[in-house]
């Protein structure tokens, strides 16, 4: 297994608040790494630092050995890094197909090719029926799948997913989990932020636990679950893996 993403001592401060303090972790090719932590632990900030949406105060981010620290988000994206947002950002006035076409246009200028690839991704996330609806007409669960399809249409090497299962009902969650697992078998490398402990225990090869902007654990799920700092952070209410 070769190293794809290498995050070294990344730090981000907002005035007096340290959102990310010296966070180090890495992701191997084909791996699913889960990021957990209570609200405000700095998970989404970490995504913003990796993808270039926020400048970082210290540390380095390497992608396949190449230093991408400080590059603009669109440059990083063109190197094969896709992401979804916790606060969903579909293009509301475009149709579902058109949304995904914008993703596919990252690597083709031909509209027909882009459309066909968009339809394939929509079939994959099971959203074909809604293809001619405007994005703003979708439910939350459908929007999540739309964002996923749009990001996948770029054919990324690495995808960062911010709470794919947040705010959707239990039935939808299991569908989304199946999607993520299917992506893994396709060979995609995945970093996913997840609140639902049962979900992350099932999905992740390794887990990064954050608390108050610091890394409190990084390793295989069983290890992380037993880590006293993690148990502490969740007030000792870590549920048994189902």
């Amino acid at each position: 297994m070769s190293l794809l993403l290498d995050v070294q001592g990344v730090t981000k401060r907002y005035g007096g608040l340290t959102a990310n303090a010296d966070i180090t972790f890495d992701v191997n090719e084909g791996e699913i790494v889960g990021i957990i932590g209570p609200n405000g632990a700095g998970k989404s900030t970490l995504f913003d630092l990796i993808t270039g949406f926020q400048p970082l105060d210290a540390g380095r981010v390497l992608l396949g050995g190449r230093d991408i620290t400080g590059l603009r988000p669109d440059r990083i994206s063109r190197l094969g890094v896709a992401r979804t947002f916790q606060k969903l950002k579909p293009f509301p006035d475009l149709t579902v197909t058109e949304n995904v076409i914008v993703g596919a246009l990252a690597h083709t200028a031909d509209m027909r090719t882009a459309r066909d690839q968009a339809l394939e991704q929509l079939a994959f996330v099971d959203l074909l029926e809604k293809r001619n609806n405007f994005a703003r007409e979708l439910s939350t669960g459908q929007r999540k799948r739309l964002e996923l399809a749009r990001a996948l249409a770029m054919s990324p090497r690495l995808i960062l997913m911010d709470e794919v299962t947040g705010g959707v009902d239990q039935r939808t969650i299991s569908g989304l989990i199946d999607l993520v697992l299917a992506l893994k078998t396709r060979g995609l490398t995945i970093v996913t932020i997840e609140h639902n402990m049962q979900v992350i225990m099932r999905l992740a090869d390794r887990i990064l636990a954050l608390h108050a902007g610091r890394r409190i654990a990084f390793g295989v799920p069983e290890e992380v679950r037993r880590e006293p700092a993690v148990v502490d952070a969740y007030l000792g209410t870590v549920p048994d893996a189902a």
Binding site: R72, R75, F85, M111, L119, L122, A123, N132
Partner: protein
């Protein structure tokens, strides 16, 4: 289930990329085209020609504004800059160097695009209202410069020297407005064709994406600032074309009028009224507001200037209350929902 999926995907792939326009739309378009082409022979009064020339030029100007505001989401309040540059480029080159206005047309487009880069590069990377404020202030400054600049006639402006030798080469028609009508029609048609193509292109899709969700657009590899500047350049060049034709039509260049905030605001009002981000909204807005302005001037004389502004205000208010995305969005949404992709 998987079989169902595969079938549905096959069916979806089989659909046309750009759905065929419904028959009534084709019929409407054909009738409209015939009407536009035959217009000077149906309505023979010079005033009806004048009115239609203005409507066509404003339709082009509003469409130019639409490229920046409707597609890339940046509100420009200084579009008169490019209108003025277009008019001055052709006139200065003809008056001082005897160059055909056709060359001036191209020079104006080029200068306008360059001005758009100069204005856009520092301001378009900023979020929020900076671009609107900057274009408003730069617009006023440019006007003041032209009003003080002796080489281009300062406040008294320029006259296009009269030439009766070769009307089409020197773009001057002294016996009839009909050639101006067809020039304006051709210019407007070219502008609308360009935007129609744009909307179906990668660039057009990317503009609409970054307009609505810049962060999502950046996460999909779209270089936001570069796209906005490019859209601004295209828009400026379109506006400049209208400026050149307008200058050749009135033959008098008055910096007070050409660079006025009124023009910048008018193209905004037309687009918003008709529907920004749509193809036909700007034309619709121009077709409503130009006659309104001209007739109010006739009926109320010099005071008509303010009366039309009051009417504009009321219209905009009504649109904002009743249909914030413009008159046209009412229809367009229905078409798109039924047909699939953008008409």
């Amino acid at each position: 289930m998987p079989g169902d999926h595969a079938r549905m995907l096959e069916a979806a792939r089989g659909e046309r990329l750009w759905p065929r326009a419904p028959l009534w739309m084709v019929a409407l378009g054909a009738a409209g085209s015939v009407l536009l082409l035959a217009y000077p022979f149906i309505f023979k009064a010079s005033f009806s020609h004048h009115m239609m020339i203005l409507i066509l030029l404003y339709a082009l100007m509003a469409q130019s504004w639409n490229v920046v505001a409707g597609f890339s989401g940046q509100i420009s309040l200084g579009h008169a800059i490019f209108f003025g540059i277009g008019a001055y480029s052709s006139t200065v080159l003809f008056a001082k160097y005897g160059l055909t206005p056709w060359a001036g047309l191209l020079v104006g487009m080029l200068l306008s695009a360059l001005a758009a880069v100069a204005i856009g590069v520092p301001t378009l990377r900023l979020r929020g209202h900076y671009f609107a404020i900057a274009t408003l202030l730069i617009g006023s400054s440019v006007q003041i410069v032209f009003q003080r600049w002796d080489w281009v006639g300062a406040a008294s402006g320029l006259y296009v020297p009269i030439d009766r030798t070769s009307p089409w080469f020197y773009l001057q028609f002294h016996t009839s407005k009909v050639p101006y009508y067809y020039l304006a029609l051709a210019a407007a048609a070219a502008g609308y064709l360009l935007v129609w193509k744009l909307r179906r292109s990668r660039f057009g899709f990317r503009l609409q994406a970054l307009r609505d969700e810049p962060e999502a657009a950046a996460s999909l590899g779209i270089a936001i600032a570069r796209h906005k500047v490019l859209a601004f350049m295209i828009s400026a060049a379109m506006m400049s074309v209208a400026g050149t034709f307008y200058g050749q039509y009135v033959l008098v260049l008055d910096p007070e009028r050409l660079f006025s905030v009124e023009i910048s605001i008018l193209v905004l009002l037309m687009t918003v009224l008709g529907g920004s981000g749509t193809l036909w909204g700007p034309a619709l807005g121009a077709a409503v507001l130009v006659p309104l302005s001209e007739y109010s001037r006739i009926w109320f004389g010099g005071t008509g200037r303010t009366i039309d502004l009051i009417i504009y205000g009321i219209l905009i208010l009504l649109v904002c209350m009743w249909r914030p995305s413009g008159i046209l969005s009412l229809f367009e949404e229905r078409i798109r929902r039924r047909a699939g992709v953008t008409p």
